[in-house]
């Protein structure tokens, strides 16, 4: 099987536009949460979220004009805009701008989304109800379809290899990176632009997750303290938005062109809970099997894991995942660090697995585990270090990133340092 490495990173997050800006704020323990501004939240229960900071492009803000002309932007939902921006960053970071036909044919795109153009769908349904079907824009469908993130990125860069999109709720980003890695390993492509994007902070999105009893509701007075994975006072996740995209590349291909290599995708595991539409099974067996499969694929023992980027959404499921991790690691749990970066950026749903894979890659690059902020009262008897309220500078050669989604869909990536 061919080896797959990561050679480019791109990110639009609630902390900042850009990978390095987001990473430094994450390590500093900042929170991207605040009152909802995307719509008037008066009618919904939860009035806060982790929104991408919009602005003129300075100081880490995201300026849509920097990435797409207003005329083109009107034709796409924000999740596609975020995907395009993150993919541009990743491709530029990788220095991958081929012009020869063979390279373009061997480069594919796999950017997924959990929900896709939810706000466009909601707005268009209201418009049709008020003004009739003849007022529905010709750009409504191509601007809302999940695979149009991959489609737009492919058109923009001329990438003619596999063009695919993952849809597995909150596991989307991890599945996309894992599946894209396999396409390279199997020889279907030499380079894949992979990740996830989401923009579900709209009235329908918040109302829907409120109805599922999944969102935090109690901290309108202090939104930055609302996402608190494993903490005894946690009361649900805080919705985030944005995109994470990586450039994956066959190892020899990357070496031959002298590319900067961040890390290697060592293992990828998947499982299904076969239990409940929104809740994980209480024994955490689905997550356990996903992690075990990823480690087996990597050919590693559990004690090789230095850092775990948990799914850790700030819901009751956090301790179920912790139990599965401790079961997997056994005695090695004491030497690993596990954190949930959702404490800072919120839950980016379909983009979560991708941004968290990037955080895991950066943890390896910089030998530092990002903190779990707001974790004032960790679970009693936790055997693993949850990095409460402070980053951990430590040796990290192997990182594991978990993502679990509605429908009982689980994905785990094992990412390793590449020497030399």
């Amino acid at each position: 099987m061919r080896r797959v490495v990561v050679t480019g990173l791109g990110m639009i997050s609630p902390l900042a536009c850009g990978v390095e800006e987001t990473w430094s704020r994450l390590l500093d323990g900042e929170s991207g949460a605040g009152p909802i501004t995307r719509f008037d939240p008066e009618r919904v229960t939860t009035k806060y979220a982790c929104e991408v900071p919009l602005g003129d492009g300075t100081d880490g803000t995201f300026n849509p004009d920097d990435w797409m002309a207003p005329k083109e932007r009107r034709k796409v939902d924000d999740f596609i805009l975020f995907a395009i921006a993150a993919a541009d960053q990743a491709v530029q970071d990788a220095g991958w701008a081929p012009e020869d036909e063979e390279s373009l044919l061997r480069t594919g795109v796999m950017i997924g989304s959990g929900i896709g153009g939810l706000s466009s769908i909601a707005d268009t349904a209201i418009l049709m109800n008020e003004k009739g079907p003849r007022r529905v824009s010709p750009f409504f469908i191509p601007g809302s379809l999940i695979n149009l993130a991959s489609g737009q990125v492919s058109i923009r860069h001329g990438f003619k290899g596999p063009n695919h999109a993952v849809v597995t709720a909150c596991s989307t980003g991890a599945h996309a990176i894992g599946d894209a890695s396999r396409l390279i390993a199997f020889g279907d492509a030499d380079v894949m632009v992979a990740g996830g994007a989401e923009s579900a902070i709209c009235e329908l999105g918040i109302a829907g997750f409120n109805a599922c009893k999944a969102l935090s509701t109690k901290r309108a007075d202090d939104p930055k303290a609302a996402s608190r994975p494993w903490d005894s006072e946690r009361d649900g996740f805080v919705m985030g938005e944005g995109a994470g995209v990586v450039v994956l590349e066959e190892y020899e291909h990357a070496k031959a062109r002298g590319a900067k290599i961040y890390a290697e995708i060592l293992g990828y595991g998947m499982s299904g809970d076969a239990y409940h539409i929104t809740a994980p099974s209480e024994d955490g067996d689905g997550g356990f099997r996903s992690m075990k499969a990823a480690l087996a694929r990597a050919g590693l023992e559990p004690d090789a894991i230095d850092y775990i980027n948990a799914h850790g959404t700030s819901t009751m499921a956090d301790t179920i995942e912790m139990g599965a991790v401790e079961r997997l690691l056994g005695d090695a749990a004491g030497k690993a660090t596990m954190s949930s970066t959702k404490s800072s950026v919120g839950h980016l749903l379909g983009a979560a697995g991708a941004v968290e894979a990037i955080f895991s890659i950066l943890a390896i690059r910089d030998q530092v585990a990002p903190p779990t902020i707001n974790l004032d009262t960790p679970p009693e008897g936790a055997k693993i270090d949850l990095a409460p309220n402070g980053k951990r500078e430590r040796e990290i050669n192997v990182a594991l990133s978990n993502s679990f989604g509605f429908g009982g869909t689980n994905a785990t990536l094992v990412i390793g340092k590449v020497d030399g």
Binding site: P70, K71, R134, R135, S137, P138, F139
Partner: protein, 77 residues
């Protein structure tokens, strides 16, 4: 230029992000102003909205240039 032509031009400039002086009588939406077939569908919808008229699909297909649009709307409105 007539009031209708001014309003049509404003819509074309906004939707296609083109310079006003490019929107001449004979300017083709697709060949000269950078529109694709979906853009022209949206343009026709904007004309319908602005002038409170209905442009049937077969008529919409005959509206290829700025001049075509002004002529059709002047007759319909």
């Amino acid at each position: 230029m007539s009031d209708i032509a001014d309003r049509v031009k404003k819509i074309v400039v906004e939707h296609l992000s083109v310079d006003e002086d490019k929107v001449t009588e004979s300017a083709s939406f697709i060949d000269d102003l950078g529109a694709d077939s979906l853009d022209t569908v949206e343009l026709v919808m904007a004309f319908e909205e602005e002038f409170g008229i209905e442009i049937p699909d077969d008529a919409a297909e005959t509206i290829q240039t700025f001049g075509d649009a002004v002529k059709f709307i002047s007759e319909a409105a």
